[in-house]
């Protein structure tokens, strides 16, 4: 795949080459046309002057009149270098030294209509003089003389050079202006691409992080503000939207991976991750750790009598009560169907008894509309009160589980702290 920057540069270079080519071709065509136009112009001038002289000298002429007329003509036609006139047998040159070019004018001898010759001496235009008749019935075509003018090449050369010079200057001006415009365009497009690249690089780094920012818009606003083209802005905003959505989905996935959907308590998966971390700290720091294993009394009966929906409602309310009752440092895990494990870091067993009791009271106040209160039993265990050394959380869970069993056996709806 080709980069847009490379593509643009390539096409701009191509455009420039095409422009230069077009100017060269156009100049060549124009110079050719100019030459032909100038040639036609010389043809007309010569024809007009020849016709005029022919008319005048048809009425009357003498040597002085002819040379004077040719002189006047040369003065009027700036680019005329030499004028030749043949009337009958007589030949006239102006200026007189034109006789040296007699060989040149031999070119005109055979022409039957006006003709142009490009010679080393200049541009020679020949115009044969024919008699002009009043009636078209007279078709006699007798050549009565010849008129020829040698024009200097300097005139047309100077016109062409001046024209080319003007063209080159104009082209340079247009090329410079065009260059500036292209440069500005490139700089602006390049700036937008750079911003887009920086944004992409930033997002790539962002995605490598373990924890994604909750509000990527504010972090990426700096990039969005730098875009000067609407389309780039659209693309940038779309990227931000996509990233926000990715972050949101990631957070949701993370939450679903460690929390129970129904009770909003942590699940066993989180417990396993947490245990490895907390146990290491507890073992190193030797601070107390207590747990409580909670189990709703006769939950099966609730499910059987009032249906699973009611059971779910009970569990949901129970989770809410638990979360609202424990501290932020405490952890509540749905351990089984209606079993909840509470972990209290840096807390002694007695304190746990108070917290669990608080939960009990709050939970007992809820009316589930089944005509009776729903209670739960709890077994509490603590380190270092119950075990001198905490090698595994399972040791504490085992003790708490045992005490829960004792609580159930002793009539339910109670908290057991000792065996």
């Amino acid at each position: 795949m080709e980069s847009i920057r490379k593509f643009l540069i390539k096409h701009i270079v191509l455009l420039f080459v095409l422009a230069v080519g077009s100017v060269i071709i156009l100049s060549f065509v124009s110079v050719t046309n100019l030459n032909s136009l100038y040639e036609r112009h010389l043809r007309y001038i010569t024809t007009l002057a020849g016709k005029n002289l022919h008319y005048v000298f048809s009425i009357y002429y003498n040597d002085v009149l002819v040379s004077q007329s040719l002189k006047t003509l040369k003065e009027e036609i700036e680019s005329a270098e030499l004028i030749y006139l043949k009337l009958g047998p007589r030949e006239y040159f102006y200026p007189e030294n034109g006789r040296n070019y007699q060989g040149l004018f031999k070119l005109c001898k055979e022409v039957s209509s006006e003709e142009v010759f490009h010679t080393e001496e200049g541009i020679l235009v020949c115009y044969p003089l024919y008699g002009e008749f009043a009636s078209q019935f007279i078709t006699e075509n007798r050549k009565e003389g010849l008129f020829a003018v040698l024009y200097s090449k300097k005139t047309i050369d100077s016109i062409i050079i001046q024209w080319l010079f003007q063209n080159i200057v104009l082209f340079i001006i247009f090329a410079l202006l065009g260059g500036f415009l292209f440069f500005d365009m490139l700089v602006r497009i390049n700036g937008n691409f750079n911003t887009l690249n920086s944004m992409i690089a930033y997002i790539e780094n962002l995605l490598k992080r373990e924890k994604l920012p909750s509000d990527p818009k504010s972090a990426m606003k700096q990039f969005l503000d730098r875009f000067s083209f609407k389309e780039f802005g659209h693309a940038g905003r779309l990227i931000v939207k996509l990233i926000s959505r990715v972050i949101k989905l990631t957070e949701e996935l993370q939450r679903q991976a460690i929390k129970d959907f129904l009770t909003n308590l942590y699940n066993r998966n989180y417990l396993n991750q947490f245990v490895t971390k907390i146990l290491g700290i507890v073992q190193r720091q030797k601070f107390p750790l207590s747990i409580a294993m909670l189990d709703i009394d006769d939950f099966k009966l609730v499910n059987d009598e009032f249906g699973h929906l009611k059971g779910d409602e009970v569990l949901k309310s129970w989770g809410k009560v638990i979360l609202s009752s424990i501290r932020s440092s405490d952890i509540a895990v749905r351990y089984g169907g209606e079993e909840v494990l509470l972990i209290f870091p840096n807390t002694k067993k007695e304190a746990v008894s108070y917290i669990v009791d608080r939960i009990k009271k709050k939970f007992s106040e809820i009316d589930f509309g089944i005509g009776k209160k729903i209670t739960f039993s709890a077994g509490v265990a603590g380190f270092p009160e119950d075990i001198p050394e905490l090698k595994s959380l399972d040791d504490l869970i085992e003790i708490a589980d045992r005490r829960l069993y004792i609580a159930k056996r002793s009539g339910k709806n109670r908290i057991v702290l000792e065996d």
């Binding site: 008319y55 048809s58 009425i59 008699g131 002009e132 008749f133 009043a134 009636s135 078209q136 019935f137 007279i138 078709t139 006699e140």
Partner: protein, 259 residues
Amino acid sequence: MVRYRVLFLVISFFLVYVYPVNGKAVCIVDSYRIEATSYVKSLIEKELNNFAVFSNVNLDREKVESCDPMILLGTPAVVEAMKKIKKKKVIYTFVMFPEILGLHKKKNFFGIRIIPLPDKTVEVFFSYTGFKKNKIAVPVSRRTQKIAKKYLSNSKLFEILPFDDDISRLKSKLSGYKYVYIFPDPALLRVVNLLKLMKFAKENGQVVITSLPDLDKYGVNFIYAVDYNLLAEKIVSLIENTPEEKILPCPARVKLWSP
């Protein structure tokens, strides 16, 4: 009797289709390509169904073979035809002086004059205007004098006034005449010479007569000249008919009378 009728029908059938089988067409050669010849050519073409037009004056034998007859417009084509066509019927016009070319002696050449003869022109002039017959000056260059004599000898009214190149030198001789006839002389019809003549004639109250149809813009008083429509009709009629005369008179009419 029935047998003869059948034979007649068969022969008629062949007669009707002889032309296309033969494949020969009327060929037109315009060797002048001036406005007048183009117009006449177009009139002839309108009248014909099967014709060919040659743009080249050089008459190739093959081309000539496929034509019957040939219509030639202008002297160059006629001169060429005189060399190459010996038996085929040739109709020509736009030849100023056919007798000079000896066309009246050619058996297969039939021409129509493009300008009326001078004596016919002056005859029409006097009858048309009612003017009293008087001597008519005919300025002619020495180069054309011989031809002029041949065409002007029928009438005693004409008096040839020869000049070299410049008609101005004739002024004193011209001033004694009331009428001037413009003979188709190239030297006289040079624009400069004709302008000089007309200026002089106007200043002296002379009536200028001509047989050339296109001199009206120069201020000529009387023009008795060819009628192109009649000319075309006459040419077309010559395709089928063979007249006794080798050179037919110009189908002319009075084109201008401006006293």
